[in-house]
């Protein structure tokens, strides 16, 4: 267990010893800030009967931030270590493959969540300014952040998988982005495409991340959504583990 924490600490250290970690956090803040300001402006012109925070998770801004930052956070996990050779130094110590896979994933996820921590402050100050209590309902904020964590876990697992495939962090980032946007678009208005068989439409609607996030933002913790994220995250972690192991296949 202590080995696992040493590895997670190293992963987080990698973000904060260099500028990249701070740049990502600043970018998330800037983009969410822009998003909120734009959203508030639009609501002022055309009032809508829902809290701003709930609407925010339905905007493209939220997904833009998640889809863009995830590959940047995960691209270096394996690819950079393979490129510099530290991967060889790591894999010749008595650490297990699963330990490495889970520690790298946990490190990425913790960092992803850290980038969203300042947003709690933004929501809080928004309530102070508007005096609207519904803006900062603890239960809703908690469920929303659980939703962000679940979505984040899925994207981190996808990103780690992409990074394990290659030695180049650029390729890792591009592959992670493609996988991420692909998964996100799976449930993106499937009925609009006339080519899908009838049974596929409800199936894809179940995978709609935007819909999941809408419900989470209303404070609804839906069990089957949680199962969806846990399963897909687990699947990608399993695939990553297979790649890490494949080095030892004859």
């Amino acid at each position: 267990m202590s080995v696992f924490f040493a590895l997670v600490r190293r992963e987080l250290g990698g973000h904060f010893n260099s500028l990249t970690g701070y740049v990502v956090i600043a970018a998330v803040l800037l983009l969410t800030g822009f998003g909120l300001v734009d959203l508030i402006e639009r609501i002022r012109q055309m009032p809508y009967d829902a809290p701003v925070t709930e609407l925010f998770y339905q905007t493209t801004y939220f997904w833009l931030v998640v889809l863009l930052t995830s590959p940047v956070i995960t691209m270096r996990t394996y690819a950079a270590e393979k490129a510099t050779g530290t991967y060889e130094a790591l894999m010749t110590t008595p650490v297990g493959d699963w330990q490495v896979v889970l520690a790298k994933f946990a490190g990425a996820l913790v960092f992803f969540l850290l980038t969203w921590v300042p947003f709690i402050g933004v929501l809080f100050s928004l309530r102070q300014i508007t005096g609207e209590a519904a803006l900062f309902e603890p239960v809703i904020v908690a469920v929303t952040f659980l939703g962000i964590a679940l979505v984040g876990a899925l994207f981190m697992a996808v990103g780690c998988f992409a990074s394990a495939l290659t030695r180049s962090d650029i390729i890792a980032a591009m592959v992670a982005f493609l996988f991420g946007i692909g998964l996100w678009m799976l449930g993106f208005r499937p009925e609009a495409s006339g080519m899908l068989p009838a049974w596929a439409i409800p199936a894809l609607e179940h995978m709609s991340m935007t819909r999941h996030m809408e419900d989470f933002a209303r404070g609804m913790l839906v069990g089957r959504y949680v199962i969806y994220y846990v399963t897909v995250t687990g699947l990608f972690l399993f695939l990553t583990h297979r790649i890490v192991q494949s080095r030892r296949w004859k």
Binding site: A6, G14, N17, L90, T93, V95
Partner: protein, 314 residues
């Protein structure tokens, strides 16, 4: 300590290691010598259980590197080629991290890190960021990492590559020091390095072992060493007469030099050191002597001698 049998590693379209077998005993310092692409790094990577072999077996301290990799990894300190380090970390922080990965507890890792910092002369830079250190210091960080968990076996892949002569000397001194307490296997393409640091040498070429011997025996086996050269002020006839009929001398050759000096080259019979004999002869005749040396066959010559035939064959 190491037992390797018929070890083969094939990459698509290329055989990196071709059925090699060797054994290395506890406490030995063994050098893997060979040109680039000879299969040194691949062999070391298999020994450190990073890569699986295509066929054959390798055991370290009695454990199979493929089937019991964790047992093997606990007992080895491996410094990979080009000494990869996390350049954004500080020296002490990095070594502590590595010590934890190798299973040392919190207190033990602190003790060991302090010990290796001292041993490798890194105490002064313990708080510096690795990326800002000179290459010589980085190499010592890599060596400290290999040592930190007190492994039985230390594997160093090209430990002096890319260093300046001064740094090379200090790293070699460290390796020599390590050899007193640990079994050390290192690879290099510099012959001189093996001569200076290793007790035994395995010469690799195109994935095969060309020769394996004690460093000093290898030269003797080539039966090319022991030639003695003297520069003496005497006539050719007198010199030839003095040395030609000695039973210890196989062959004499005299060449004129500047002034009245002559260069006498003597090949001994049966590996005898001819220097005392030559000196006695010179003193008896009262000849002025300005140089007397015994040329030693360097590994360089041996290596060229060994590989020449092979290269022609291919």
């Amino acid at each position: 300590m190491i037992e390797v049998e018929n070890l083969t590693k094939r990459y698509p379209g290329r055989t990196a290691v071709d059925g090699i077998s060797f054994q290395i005993g506890r406490g030995e310092v063994v050098g893997f010598l060979g040109p680039n692409g000879a299969g040194k790094s691949t062999t070391l990577r298999i020994l450190s259980s990073f890569l699986p072999a295509t066929s054959g077996t390798a055991r370290v301290a009695g454990f199979d590197v493929f089937r019991e990799p964790d047992e093997v990894r606990r007992r080895i300190g491996y410094m990979p080629e080009n000494n990869p380090l996390h350049l954004d970390m500080r020296v002490r922080e990095y070594l502590k991290f590595r010590a934890r990965l190798k299973g040392l507890g919190w207190r033990r890792s602190r003790e060991r890190v302090d010990a290796v910092l001292q041993q490798c002369g890194l105490t002064d830079v313990a708080g510096r960021i690795i990326g800002q250190l000179s290459k010589g210091y980085r190499q010592r960080v890599g060596l400290s990492d290999a040592l930190v968990h007190e492994p039985d076996l230390i594997i160093l892949d090209e430990p002096t590559i890319g260093l300046d002569p001064h740094q090379i000397r200090s790293v070699r001194a460290l390796v020599k020091e390590l050899g007193k307490q640990h079994t050390v296997v290192l690879s290099t393409h510099i012959l001189n390095e093996v001569e200076m640091t290793c007790s035994r040498v395995l010469i690799l070429h195109r994935g095969r072992i060309l020769a394996a011997d004690r460093t000093e025996d290898l030269g003797r086996r080539m039966s090319l060493d022991g030639q003695v050269v003297a520069e003496v002020e005497a006539s050719e006839a007198a010199l030839l007469e003095a040395f030609r009929d000695l039973p210890e001398v196989e062959h004499v050759e005299v060449q004129p030099l500047d002034g009245n000096f002559r260069r006498v080259a003597l090949v001994p019979r049966g590996g005898v050191d001819l220097r005392p004999l030559v000196y006695a002869e010179v003193r008896e005749n009262g000849w002025p002597l300005r140089e007397l040396t015994r040329s030693r066959q360097s590994l360089e010559d041996i290596f060229i001698h060994l590989t020449r035939g092979k290269v022609k064959e291919d």
